[in-house]
Amino acid sequence: MNKILIVAEHDGSRLNPAIAKCVRCARDIPDANVTVLVLAADPAAVAAEAATINGVDAVVTVANPANAQALAATLAPQVAAVASGYSHVFGPSTTFGKDLMPRIAALLGAPQLSDVMAVESATRFRRPIYAGNAIVTVEVAAGTQLVATVRVASFEAAARGNATAPITAASLDVVLPSHTRFVSLSAARSDRPDLQTANRVISGGRAFGSADNFKILDGLATKLGAAVGASRAAVDAGYAASDMQVGQTGKIIAPELYMAFGISGAIQHLTGIKDARTIVAVNKDAEAPIFEIADYGLVGDVFQIIPELERLIG
């Protein structure tokens, strides 16, 4: 049996949708037994939610006021204490997982695979490298404990079922560090769907020229019920917040519909949208590389096309 431990990402009350995708990935491993680990100040609600995901065999909780903030230095020793006896320790390839999982791996002395996009066996996985320009199949020796982050854009979410997995509380005897302290979080509050899980995403690039101009995407986003993303150039120039960046070093997304406005299509950007079902590109340059991968391309000026689309979609 392969025992897989998934470290839950949550906001204190809700489980992050990426976790159901990690469950799906874990289930692709033959003969898998899947445990979700919830570290929180008060894990009850999140644990109850995790227990209903199809394919979850058990939920383990660790309650500690120190877990109110997701600090890697605090969480990692607790996960490491639970992880012995598990063959695989998984987390999502969100910034939470990217920050935390390698710290766990080093404490366990285990190798880590980042951004697992497919499971071939319990010891063999595929992952992208070079900004997605190559896919490598990697194998670890049988019996090696493996830490991994799951590329969430590659997996469907496991569904919620009626059954509930047993929830047990672990009490750990781990000394937690005080050298890392949470100060604040500034989140751009938005009523829009979450960029990483939205069905539709519309993104803007350098073409917009100012933060004010970038806002013309808002009307269309509302009409479409879409999340808004951005290229690195748009974020660097201050038109959009950093958490809106799509690409190799931003968010990797897989919406049903992706619309890129005034984005040239640099490889680092394309890497973030390769799994989108349908890609639409609007660019005034007919030679822009984004048209090479777009399902529908339209040569035109974003300042003219966006209001037209908004009117037509009505």
Binding site: T95, P102, T137, R181, V183
Partner: protein
């Protein structure tokens, strides 16, 4: 002495369109332009700025890899690093091995800060800095977009999925850089000349007590599935009609 250790990895330049070798044994690197990993350039720039503010005395750059890596170390010295360490090896260096080597160098150099890139753009692992902080038992502030050094502490703003998070960490610590932390300076010709005289020490992993092990065996490389080129539409109306017919919009 207040010292900052900066990791410099030699990688295929970010402008190169990387191709998989036809026989699937790797990617084509022959005759391809190599550069400092962009995130490591940002790491070095940040270290130099901290030093220029008088908050550190020495910036030491470190690379692990084959002999050619010295080109990137020389560039780093030309940017303004004080000295360089080259851990020379032709072995495959996985992030955990790199972290072990950095940890061993930290024991010798006793820096107040180690700054690494958040990810190397070749393996895209995003692991080494976090692993190093775990082995060192020190704080980590990953994906930094702002760093302020105080008295024995650093205040770091991090780019995370939810927005911008600020942490206070005790020093010594590990910081990994994100793209918006700073814009690296250009190297000037006279600096390249001066850099030739700066110290560059070569060591072997064994001298640091680390034996590189390959736990993650790459067995096959493939090009990614290609998206086929779609159709061009002539105007917004045609686009909306096409999306409607596919049921993508109402």
């Amino acid at each position: 002495m207040n010292r900052i250790l900066v990791a410099i990895k030699r990688v295929v330049d970010y402008n190169v369109r990387v191709r998989v070798k036809p026989d699937g044994t790797g990617v084509v690197t022959d005759g391809v332009k190599m550069s400092i990993n962009p995130f490591d350039e940002i790491a070095l720039e940040e270290a130099l700025r901290i030093k220029e503010k008088g908050q550190a005395q020495e910036v030491v750059v470190v690379t692990i890899g084959p002999a050619d890596c010295q080109q990137q170390l020389r560039t780093a010295l030309a940017m303004g690093a004080d000295r360089a360490l080259h851990v020379q090896t032709d072995a495959v260096i996985e992030p955990l091995t790199a972290a072990r080597i950095f940890k061993s160098l930290i024991d010798r150099e006793q820096p107040m800060l180690a700054i690494l890139g958040k990810q190397a753009i070749d393996d895209d692992c995003n692991q080494t800095g976090q692993m190093l902080s775990a082995l060192w038992g020190r704080p980590q502030a990953t994906f930094a977009s702002k760093v302020e050094i105080g008295d024995g502490v650093a205040t770091v703003t991090r780019e995370i999925d939810a927005g911008l998070e600020t942490l206070e960490i005790d020093l010594p610590a590990v910081i990994t850089t994100d793209l918006r932390l700073n814009e690296p300076r250009y190297v000037k010709l006279p600096d390249i000349m001066k850099a030739k005289k700066k110290p560059l020490d070569v060591l072997e992993p064994a001298a640091l007590g680390v034996t590189p092990s390959e736990q993650l065996k790459a067995i096959r490389y493939e090009p990614p599935p290609q998206r086929s080129k779609g159709v061009m539409v002539k105007d917004a109306q045609e686009l909306v009609a096409a999306l409607r017919s596919k049921g993508l919009i109402q």
